[in-house]
Symmetry: C2
């Protein structure tokens, strides 16, 4: 830890070099969703491997197999990059996950600058991938460069797992990790920098994610669509049944009406409860940013808990009904209503499926409709919650205090980052989410950016975290 000031000084001095490195990576158009850019994704994996190799890591490619396109065509998946720094059995081993593929971006979508040319304006580094997730990966590489240049020995062993398919459901990664489980079985801790601060000003560490259960309710009243003039009044209509069912899932203020769900939610502990008051989050700003006409609660604590630690149920839409602008006098023959539940500990997809199915079946029995009714559940995902008081989070927290002079907020997120659970389960190690970008970085949107300050201070946090972990 005596070297940390020298490390911070070197990061400051060389920051423009690291921004150039980020620029180089942003210029590679690694859009994983675009089959035409698959070559760029593979080139991106090669670029990352070469960076790690130049720094002295043992590197290898994990072949993740092929992707089957809907057209029937097969495309090679970009290989995952595996890099190993140090094999000192007396040291802890940190697994660092990141991804180097990006969301699609075109200048015409409304970017102010070329999305694949990193451009600094007023201390903001604009470019696709600048914050999601090339910036954090380059920050790690920068830290290793600095340590190498200063001749400082790594306080812990590091294993990198970098992929280029994250924006396309991390296709192939889970199998890649399973196939190479012997190479990651010695991991002590894992760290993922692929999310964002809750706001713009205060760093946070993220210890929870909700899971998801997705449902399809299919109701059919006839073989083909009917005409509401000719047939209106003759058949019990499928869409009417569906709306009746879907209107009984959740109240206007978000209370889930499915019996048994509330009972499964993990009770609030005092430690967790205490976290909320300190969190830097403004209800009014949230309301303005979403443009909501109203919120389910005006209390900061309730609102955050509703988004993070309680389940929520959202209605998404209807397939098979009239959905275009204008007027059409159709009685849809078959409609599929879609809704999902965000699940939290101690809920599981399996138990949730049972509760949902049983409730919908009982509603349907009450309906006494002659129509056909079918519930299907989509692929479910477990929630993830870590112990925010463990050694991993303590190291992260102390690193942030050292750089920012403040204790981070301990936050959760309402969505899912499935790789988190995969890594935790396969490495049997505690995982921490350590975001370095701010809430307004516009990941997935136009004019994605990372602030120069977040990027540079992020490197310092990551460096300090390595040393704190070793303590």
């Amino acid at each position: 830890m005596e070297n940390i000031d020298a490390v911070f000084k070197s990061i400051d001095e060389h920051q423009d070099e690291f921004i150039d490195l980020l620029r180089e990576s942003v210029a590679i158009r690694s859009v994983s969703a675009d089959p035409a850019r698959r070559g760029d994704c593979i080139r991106m994996s090669e670029w990352a491997r070469d960076q790690l190799r130049t720094l002295g890591a043992e590197t290898s490619f994990w072949d993740l197999g092929k992707q089957q396109l809907q057209s029937g065509e097969e495309l090679p998946l970009p290989p995952a990059v595996f890099g190993v720094y140090g094999r000192d059995k007396s040291k802890k081993t940190l697994l660092i996950y990141g991804h180097l593929d990006v969301q699609p971006a075109e200048k015409e979508d409304g970017w102010n600058t070329d999305p694949f040319e990193l451009t600094e304006i007023d201390g903001k580094l604009f470019g696709r991938g600048s914050t999601d997730d090339k910036g954090p990966v380059i920050a790690w590489i920068a830290v290793l460069k600095v340590l190498k240049n200063l001749g400082i020995e790594l306080p812990i062993n590091i294993k990198f797992v970098l992929e280029c398919m994250e924006e396309s459901s991390s296709e192939g990664l889970e199998k890649g990790l399973e196939d190479n489980i012997d190479k990651i079985s010695d991991v002590t801790y894992s760290c993922i920098s692929d999310n964002y601060w809750l706001g713009r000003n205060k760093p946070c560490l993220t210890y929870g994610l909700r899971g998801i259960c997705y449902y399809f309710v299919e109701i059919s009243c006839a073989r083909q669509d009917l005409h509401s003039g000719i047939n209106g009044g003759s058949v019990p209509e499928a869409l009417n049944d569906l709306m009746w069912i879907m209107s009984q899932l959740v109240t206007v203020d978000g209370q889930i009406l499915i019996p048994g769900i509330a009972e499964r939610v993990a009770p609030l502990t005092k430690d967790e409860d205490d976290l909320y008051d300190k969190i830097d989050f403004c209800v009014d700003t949230f309301k303005q940013e979403t443009g909501s006409h109203g919120l389910i609660s005006d209390s900061k604590k309730n609102l955050l808990m509703n988004r993070w630690r309680y389940p929520s149920l959202s209605l998404h839409g209807v397939e098979g009904a009239f959905s275009q602008p204008g007027a059409k006098t159709v009685i849809p023959a078959k409609v599929i209503g879609k809704f999902s539940l965000r699940i939290v500990p101690h809920m599981t997809p399996e138990a949730t499926d049972k509760l949902v199915t049983s409730y919908l079946d009982s509603l349907w029995a009450k309906r006494k409709s002659p129509n056909t009714f079918k519930i299907t559940s989509g692929h479910g995902g477990m929630p993830w919650v870590a112990d925010f008081r463990d050694a991993n989070f303590s190291a992260g927290s102390r690193a942030i205090e050292r750089v920012y002079g403040m204790t981070p907020d301990f936050t959760r997120e309402g969505g899912s980052i499935p790789v988190t659970l995969t890594i935790q389960d396969l490495t049997k190690s505690p995982v921490m989410l350590l975001p370095i970008g701010a809430s307004d970085d516009m990941a997935h949107s136009q004019n994605e950016k990372i602030n120069r300050e977040n990027f540079v201070k992020g490197m310092k946090v990551l460096a300090a975290y390595l040393f704190e972990l070793a303590v």
Copy 2:
């Protein structure tokens, strides 16, 4: 009436000529919805005018102005054909309406034959427009040809109004009729052959059509779509509000829940009630043909009344929500629910709008949602009901008895044919719908046809009707 047997004989003898005439008209691809076919529609009007002129009618074109396409382009509307046979003030005057434009059709859509080449298979004449509505128009022309060839004087004056935009909302026709109101003010009766028998075997005369009121319920919860992971549980969702509203419009068995609607429905008279028992309609066949899983009633009388003489409410769909296949975790920001009411005497669109708006407003007040809520009504249409005991229907009924040896069913339809009311209102004459095609003619669908027998007997019915009207 002493000539009628000679007329029938001549129709039988010359039927192949009239089928050739139908073939000639079917070959003109007068698809009014296709701007590229506008020239064919105009040619179709010219063809019809020339036919009437050759038969000795005074003919003229009514210029209906221009059509504004969504592209901004303007296209000329095909002119309506106005034809006058006879101006004998001692005789009654019959207005005959028909249309010569057709729905789109391509062999690739699933036609067994070229849709624009009339093809006879097993006594069925397949071709686009064969039954909707070129067949009935040609049947009228055939009747006049026969009378001319036999040297029989017309027992009444006839005025033809033929258009080529019916399948595109009869654009321009109402204004054309209004502009020429002095030319049709002497009309005694009107007759429209643009619908179908209720079944395949028994002729009918149609005395009622339902009107329509169409509604858009717009609810908005945010400025833009939200992510159900990040935001689920924080905002009262627009789609949830919408489904709650839309589930309270009509019961599973079709009972409309909007107060005040039922009270406005014209009471059932004994005369009308007596009609239903005799009607040739099979509930099981209807169920099979629609492929319905269940019907609102298994009683023939109730089912027909529900479709014809009682209002019905149908839900059509939702605009703005997720409607594609698959799973999307969106919270739609703004959704527009669509439903319509088929209205019957003594309901009016204006009164219905008031009842619907007032009911929805009261539901919304109960909902206590912070979201924005707006109801818009589309263009409403009045119902139409004629007196099935009037002289027009009596003449039609006697004509059918003479040809088919049976009394026709007196039927209504659940949908709308707006020109019916327009003609009734502008001519101040009683209108009768006199279908000649059968229920399985597949108007608007693939393999549209008219049976040779329906076509030939249809000519005889129209001829007999002319003489019966004069009695």
